[in-house]
């Protein structure tokens, strides 16, 4: 295959800014003919932005894009324009018309015509040919909605390929597919690859990358980390590159001063086969008094989902939960609160703050909800509590009556922490409490976590920053692909072992 190393697409020095944020900085990307190229990175790394810039959804400030067949740099102003040049995208959600037939979907907007009318016969015939080429055999005259999501996705791919067959971008196509369906999709991808199409595969499933991809480009915080050949990049190094730690340096970092013998308090939370279909597979988990347990794993691994199931933010559909040895019936967050839990959600803006309400009201709301409608906290109590926590957590606000939305991210987070501390929980779940807040506040929150645990509170700590977790946690649960795959005890808590655990698979070699 002479074509194998022919370069199809190059993006050079791409820069893109959003107001206040650098989304892409001097990013390079190269796609060769007949390769499947994984684009990887954690949340906010710039994967989606790079794709959007390439397909004309977003404009970019500087840099150039070159495409095989064009001797000058190209700029796409719309996805249609990109498609015209041979760059097609298939998204996680299929953008086709479920009520039309497969053939109609394949030819929508470019139907073969005869005397000004749609030539149905030719259309169906051609559709059959297209799908046959891809080893898909289905009835093309049936409405699309009758087929599985995976099949719909393949039909979307078939359409994209038939329209313009050079560069195919698959943006997290496997997120909603089951294992068998993923397998079918991979067969199709390999087939397209053999036809010389270059495929950009955006995903965060490590297994899948190692199964089908030839090369990997890793982005982090809008910058290019590097381009690697799959065989030459062990999984654990890939994780290190995505998370921003150079693996070789990590081995030398020693674990410092954590009181080793803190465990073995009474059992507070005991989850047995707790799980929710589609989000987190059944897991067992035990949390003791005064323990800080960290949940680690890549984005989409089920970290938050595990926490949400315990708190009943998402309803569990299997297993049982015991709180202090007693079986707890928890159908809604209020039940979890009454059982002594608190939950600081990952998404502060959408699930945490009540934007228009004051700092005072935001702090009081959880305790007030727990006490019930008819036991209103007096104004005096409210003001006392609020002032106490404003001082204790050093919340920077002009006044306790200022709407929370006017506070900085870090201070908003402190208000939500105060909200939960006020309910005096035995078990507090903190999902990314330090995301998007300034360094000073981060350290304060970490210190607070350690202090609360010393006082006997059990804490579940979720963070993408491994260092932060090592500093605060006594043990860790590792998640991969929606499944709890193991636990690390205190002595095992170091970057090396954590990354190996996250990467899984070949990590033991």
């Amino acid at each position: 295959m002479e074509n194998v190393n022919k370069i199809l697409l190059t993006m050079r020095h791409i820069n893109k800014n959003f107001p206040g944020v650098v989304a892409l900085s001097e990013v390079d990307f190269t796609l060769r003919m007949g390769e499947i190229h994984a684009l990887m990175g954690e949340n906010g790394a710039g994967k989606s932005t790079l794709i959007k810039v390439l397909t004309g959804v977003e404009e970019f400030e500087t840099g150039e894009i070159k495409l095989d067949g064009y001797d000058h740099a190209i700029v796409n102003r719309s996805p249609q324009e990109a498609q015209g040049k041979g760059i097609s995208t298939v998204y996680q959600e299929v953008n086709l018309c479920p009520n039309l037939t497969v053939a109609e979907n394949l030819f929508i907007g470019r139907e073969p015509k005869k005397f000004g009318m749609i030539d149905w016969k030719t259309m169906n015939q051609k559709s059959n040919e297209i799908l046959k080429n891809l080893n898909i055999s289905i009835d093309v005259t049936v409405a699309l909605e009758n087929y599985s999501l995976a099949m719909q996705q393949m039909i979307a791919i078939a359409r994209a390929i038939d329209m313009s067959a050079k560069v195919l971008i698959l943006d997290e196509p496997t997120s909603s597919l089951d294992d068998g369906e993923v397998e079918k999709l991979f067969v199709l991808m390999k087939k397209l690859k053999s036809q010389g199409i270059g495929i950009i595969f955006v995903t965060h499933f490590l297994e899948q990358v190692y199964e089908v991809c030839d090369r990997i480009t890793v982005l982090r915080n809008g910058c290019l980390v590097g381009e690697y050949e799959v065989e030459k990049l062990p999984r654990v190094q890939l994780v290190a590159k995505m998370m921003g730690k150079d693996f070789d340096d990590l081995a030398s970092i020693k674990k410092d001063n954590l009181e080793a013998e803190k465990k073995s308090g009474t059992l507070v939370i005991d989850a047995k086969h707790l799980g929710a279909t589609g989000t987190i597979k059944p897991f067992d988990l035990q949390i003791h008094e005064g323990e800080v347990i960290g949940l680690t794993g890549l984005l989409g691994s089920g970290r938050s989902e595990l926490a949400r199931v315990i708190y009943a933010a998402d309803k569990a559909d299997s297993g049982e939960l015991f709180v202090r040895g007693k079986k707890a019936v928890i159908n809604a967050p209020i039940d979890a609160m009454k059982a002594g839990m608190g939950y600081l959600p990952e998404n502060r803006k959408e699930e945490g703050i009540i934007a228009d309400l004051s700092v005072r009201e935001n702090i009081m709301i959880a305790l007030q909800a727990k006490k019930g409608m008819f036991h209103r906290l007096s104004v005096k109590e409210q003001e006392e509590f609020t002032d106490k926590y404003i001082e204790l957590l050093q919340i920077k606000t002009a006044d306790r009556e200022v709407p929370i939305k006017q506070l900085s991210g870090g201070n908003q987070q402190k208000v939500i922490l105060a909200r939960w501390l006020l309910t005096n929980p035995e078990f507090l779940i903190l999902d990314e409490p330090t995301r998007g807040i300034d360094v000073g506040t981060k350290t304060e929150i970490q210190k607070l976590v350690v202090k609360l645990a010393k006082e006997g509170m059990s804490i579940m700590f979720i963070s993408s920053e491994i260092e932060e977790m090592i500093r605060t946690c006594n043990k860790m649960a590792v998640l991969r692909d929606g499944c709890k795959v193991g636990e690390l005890s205190e002595s095992e808590l170091n970057q090396d072992s954590i990354m190996r655990a996250i990467a899984g698979g070949e990590a033991d070699e």
Binding site: Y311, A313, A332, P333, I334, M337, Y343, P345, E350, E351, G352, I353, I354, A355, D356, L357, E361, M364, I365, A366, Q368, A369, K370, K371, G372, M373, F374, H375, R376, L377, R419
Partner: protein, 351 residues
Amino acid sequence: MNNTLKKITGYRLFLPLVCLALVLLVNVIKTPNFFAISIQNGVFYGYIVDVINRASELVILAVGMTLVVAASGGTDISVGAVSAVAGAVAIFIIGGGEASTDFYHAPYILGFFAALLAGTLCGAWNGFLVAKMKIQPMVATLILFTAGRGIAQLITGGNILYMRVDSFKQLGGFIQGVPLPTPVFVAIFVVLITLFILKKTALGLYIQTVGINAKAARLVGLNSVLIQFLTYTFCGICAGIAGMIITSRVYSIDANNAGLNMELDAILAVALGGNSLGGGKFSLIGSVIGAITIQALTTTLYAMKVSADQLPVYKAIVVIIIVSLQSPELKRMLRNAKLQLQNGQQGKKVA
């Protein structure tokens, strides 16, 4: 000086009050006797008494509507029809279903509570659809908006039923020896009770929390379904009370016309009161001021001899002005214009 001014203009109810004042101000110029109050037969008479009297039903409806809007970010467009249902139930029970009667077939109090119950049930139905079934408030309440009058017709057998008993007229008129019309007292009572509930329980905080961020509300342990359900039910009760006043005023029930179009005025009252129709923070007093403003506007136009058919046009014009005065977009435009003016002046100085 500047600070005090800012404090006053920043006060939540500032704009609604200004609007009311503006409407009243027009009368000072155009209808000088607008504020004159005279005593005839031991009761107060005058345009201004008429305004607060006629505004009573609207105030009551606006109270219920405010809570519905705050908790669900939607409106209950069935309140007018529900008033008719409540009125029909009341007169059917105490009038024994006769087209015209001059004595009670059943105790008045029974009819009154039956009307409240009818309103409660209608409100609960709306609440069930919106809170539990997650149907859009406008669509959910559209059902009773149309079917409500049908139900009322069914109860009255398609006739206008009269209740020619003096004591029946008291709720919508005067009680012997009291110089102010009864509806005013009922409205004040409803407002005070509601304020009391909001003040003494945490319901007000719950409603706002659910209205602003339902997801966060659930995570802090609130039952947003129950809270929304309660607001719609309460709105139904308010509609029931309003329905009783409306029927008492005309000592009859006309299923087709009782409370007609009042839902729109009630929604408008909430908006005029400076409340966001998107839900969240609310001011009950604001809505009350809004309701009085609307009635003042209507009475003003009558006093200026605008005919009833042309009334809606003038009303619409004034409403457009009032609503745009309160819109944040206009505030932004004004601020920008001011900034540009300042920049322009600075530019000149530099030149």
